[in-house]
């Protein structure tokens, strides 16, 4: 028993240290010019804790070690920041520009904040003085329609709705047709959260796409996958599946106001070429902001 207790204590100490490390910013380490093996190890841990994933971290660390060997005197923080920015700048998100009616579709797994994000996005576009219509396409989750309606009131935009359990493709069709008839430039369509492994639910997204195309052949003009910043490596398979089935064009990273860094977007962007359009940083109506790579990397590196 003694041995086990000893191990447990050691483990608890280790965790306490983790917690301290989380609180004590990474920059202390990154400010150092020459890092010894232990410090490099700690740096690697901190990057892993940002959910960048083993592969991305291995590559970043290899690169850092290489640079250190080559020049002997480099700023590790600047080197890492450069490397990460290079990746994030590979695929910038196109800004939303109003014109003829465009359909924006929001998809994602359960609980990532689709409805909230849609409300904020509606308010954001409305604040630019552009017409917006939102469509309550989540007809599955209890009270999702009421939730969107509340956001519609908050943002001051009309809500197209049907009853719970209705056909989401039909309501999407109605919304797009109505916006087109009224020449409203933006139609934002909410969808029910679904796990990317559920075939039948994923197929429903395809049906929504097809019914939108009956109204506007080029619709949906953008498909945003909403991703919770607390998500781990599963975010990659999520993005893969949603891109394949729903034609995702951009990511929106939510809940960045917590302690999670959302690092999984880095491998997603690299592998799937999906840019990050917006980030959600709070529960307020203004808490959706365009993605800023510099600020995001500073967050990852704990600046």
């Amino acid at each position: 028993m003694g041995l086990l207790d000893g191990l447990l204590d050691k483990f608890k100490q280790g965790l306490r240290r983790t917690q301290e490390l989380v609180l004590s910013p990474i920059q202390g380490l990154l400010g150092l010019r020459r890092l010894d093996e232990d410090q490099l190890q700690e740096l690697e841990d901190l990057l892993l804790q940002a959910d960048l994933g083993v592969h991305a971290v291995d590559r970043l660390m290899a690169r850092l070690r290489f640079e250190m060997k080559r020049s002997g005197d480099i700023d590790p923080r600047a080197a890492l920041k450069d490397e990460l920015l290079k990746i994030l700048h590979l695929h910038p998100s196109r800004p939303l520009t109003a014109g003829e009616t465009q359909v924006l579709l929001l998809v994602g797994v359960n609980g990532v904040g689709k409805t909230t994000t849609l409300g904020k996005l509606a308010a954001h576009l409305k604040a630019r003085g552009e017409g917006v219509m939102v469509v309550a396409g989540d007809t599955f989750r209890a009270a999702a329609i009421d939730q969107l309606e509340a956001w519609g009131v908050r943002a001051g935009v009309p809500v197209v709705r049907n009853q719970m359990g209705g056909d989401p493709a039909a309501i999407a069709y109605d919304g797009a047709a109505s916006a087109l008839a009224k020449s409203i430039p933006w139609v934002l369509i909410d969808t029910a959260g679904r796990l990317h492994t559920k075939d039948h639910l994923m197929k429903e997204l395809d049906k929504i796409r097809r019914s939108l195309q009956k109204v506007i052949p080029s619709a949906p003009h953008r498909v945003f996958m909403v991703l919770d910043a607390t998500t781990g490596q599963n975010g990659i398979t999520q993005a893969e599946a949603f891109k394949q089935v729903a034609g995702v064009t951009d990511l929106i990273l939510t809940k960045l106001d917590g302690s999670a860094k959302g690092g999984v977007v880095v491998p997603i962007l690299e592998r799937l070429k999906l840019p990050i359009a917006y980030v959600g940083v709070g529960e307020g109506v203004d808490d959706l902001i365009p993605f800023d790579p510099e600020a995001f990397v500073d967050g990852l590196l704990g600046a």
């Binding site: 965790l15 240290r17 892993l48 609980g111 209890a142 939730q147 490596q233 990659i236």
Partner: protein, 461 residues
């Protein structure tokens, strides 16, 4: 994207065949692979490191038992350790109940973890277990959250608390009084989702706790959570002293390493797992299965229990008896399909099977739900007489059945062929010699981590 860990380990330890002891040198590569697997499964870095040093200590100097290769011996140690940490044996009683008055269960967690849905699932679970729960909406912030709980409660067939109160603490207090008055023995408080960094809202939870004195405070955690699980879980635990964890959205393809991290930092057991859109998709937590899943070894045990739960025992027994007498008919096959459908989507079933890494996609397309539906349609288009006596099915009848089911004739033929194969296979299973052969196969190589048996097994769909 994840290869099964057992495959990787087998590769990493290939050179070790014939070694009779696990040594520092010969487990190094394997340790690296396990670390990789844990990190890919979102186990926290520090948790993974501590775990690995523990495994290393256990493994060093261990004799490799006869019949095992070093990789298998090593996996065994890893699996045992992980299972032990995840909670060892399943507790008989999942919840602590108050000795006097209504038991209060408080649900807490981050936004979007699934607290409201989980509250409903728990209520239904407890109702089935003979309790009389009351659902209490205490999330006054998220638009329509209260309405959502009322709807969920209705679906679950349990009452939900309605009040004009706007303050969460007051709502909970009033609900408790009502429960005492009306004799509800379990009160489930669905609190607002919040960031653990939000001091003010954490304070509100503390007040609810102080006022209602819950017997259980369950931390609801998304199975897909990454490294942040450690931070949020420990923050909630420090503030509220949680008593257990409910893991949600575990029906996806996430490895669920967060469960391990949370267990480690809070020391509190994972009590339940939510895995599906329906209120019934809620189960007791099984540490050994979770350990296998984190390591990428599948979850065949869960599948078995899942099946047991939903399959009509009487039907199953009848089919088994008929099998024993070699009387398996198309009617039995139809019943089987109906039961397969009860199990949920084929994807779910396949997802639970171990060692299915690469086969998963292939299988998913073959064993799609549609196919089962089509076959069932064909069977439904037969008369009871035809199902009882497949010999009746001549060309004319087959054409009629195809028309009735709206499927081409060759699918009818295909189904009959499969029926004959199933019948043959099943009669072999009644033969003791055949079963011995199967067991030998299972002991041999087969697919790693899955006992090999399934590999040679032809599924009826």
């Amino acid at each position: 994207m994840f290869d099964s860990l057992s495959d990787k380990l087998s590769k990493a330890m290939k050179t070790l065949r014939g070694h009779s002891k696990l040594t520092e040198a010969n487990i190094e590569a394997a340790l690296r692979e396990v670390r990789m697997a844990l990190l890919e499964a979102d186990v926290h870095v520090q948790v993974a490191r501590t775990f690995l040093s523990r495994v290393k200590e256990k493994a060093l100097g261990k004799d490799v038992l006869d019949g095992l290769n070093p990789a298998q011996a090593f996996i065994d140690i890893v699996h045992q350790e992980l299972t032990a940490i995840m909670g060892g044996q399943v507790d008989e009683h999942p919840l602590n109940y108050a000795s006097k008055g209504p038991t209060v269960v408080m649900m807490v967690g981050l936004q979007g973890a699934g607290k409201t849905t989980t509250s409903g699932k728990l209520a239904k679970f407890l109702k089935k277990a003979g309790r009389s729960p009351l659902l209490v909406p205490a999330d006054v912030y998220r638009p329509a959250a209260i309405e959502q709980l009322h709807i969920v409660a209705k679906d679950a067939g349990v009452p939900s608390f309605r009040t004009e109160e706007k303050d969460p603490v007051a709502i909970c207090k009033a609900a408790l009084k009502e429960a005492e008055l009306k004799g509800w023995d379990t009160v489930i408080l669905d609190t607002a989702g919040r960031l653990h960094l939000d001091e003010q809202l954490m304070e509100e939870l503390s007040k609810i706790k102080a006022t209602c004195e819950p017997s259980e405070i369950l931390f609801v955690a998304d199975a897909m959570t990454g490294q942040d699980a450690v931070r949020s879980a420990s923050a909630f635990h420090e503030k509220l002293a949680i008593t257990g964890v409910v893991l949600t959205k575990a029906d996806g393809d996430t490895r669920g390493g967060a469960a391990f991290s949370i267990k480690e930092v809070t020391g509190q057991p994972v009590k339940f797992v939510g895995e599906g859109e329906k209120l019934d998709d809620f189960q007791r937590f099984h540490p050994d299965r979770m350990a296998q899943r984190i390591l990428g070894m599948g979850d065949v045990l869960s599948l078995i229990e899942h099946a047991k739960d939903r399959i009509d025992e009487k039907d199953a027994e009848q089919i088994a008896q008929r099998l024993a007498k070699n009387q398996f008919t198309l009617e039995d096959m139809r019943k089987q399909f109906q039961q397969v459908k009860k199990l949920g989507s084929m994807q779910k079933i396949i997802g639970m099977m171990p060692g299915m890494g690469q086969m998963k996609e292939q299988l998913a397309s073959v064993a799609s739900d549609k196919r089962v539906t089509h076959m069932e349609a064909i069977l439904n288009s037969m008369t009871p007489k035809e199902r009882a006596n497949p010999n009746l099915l001549d060309g004319k009848r087959r054409r009629r059945i195809a028309l009735g089911a709206g499927r081409p004739v060759h699918e009818v033929n295909q189904l009959l062929k499969q029926y004959l194969e199933m019948k043959k296979m099943m009669s072999q299973m009644n033969d003791p010699k055949f079963m011995q052969k199967m067991q030998r196969m299972a002991g041999g190589k087969g697919m790693p981590g899955m006992g090999g048996g399934l590999g040679g097994f032809k599924m009826p769909f």
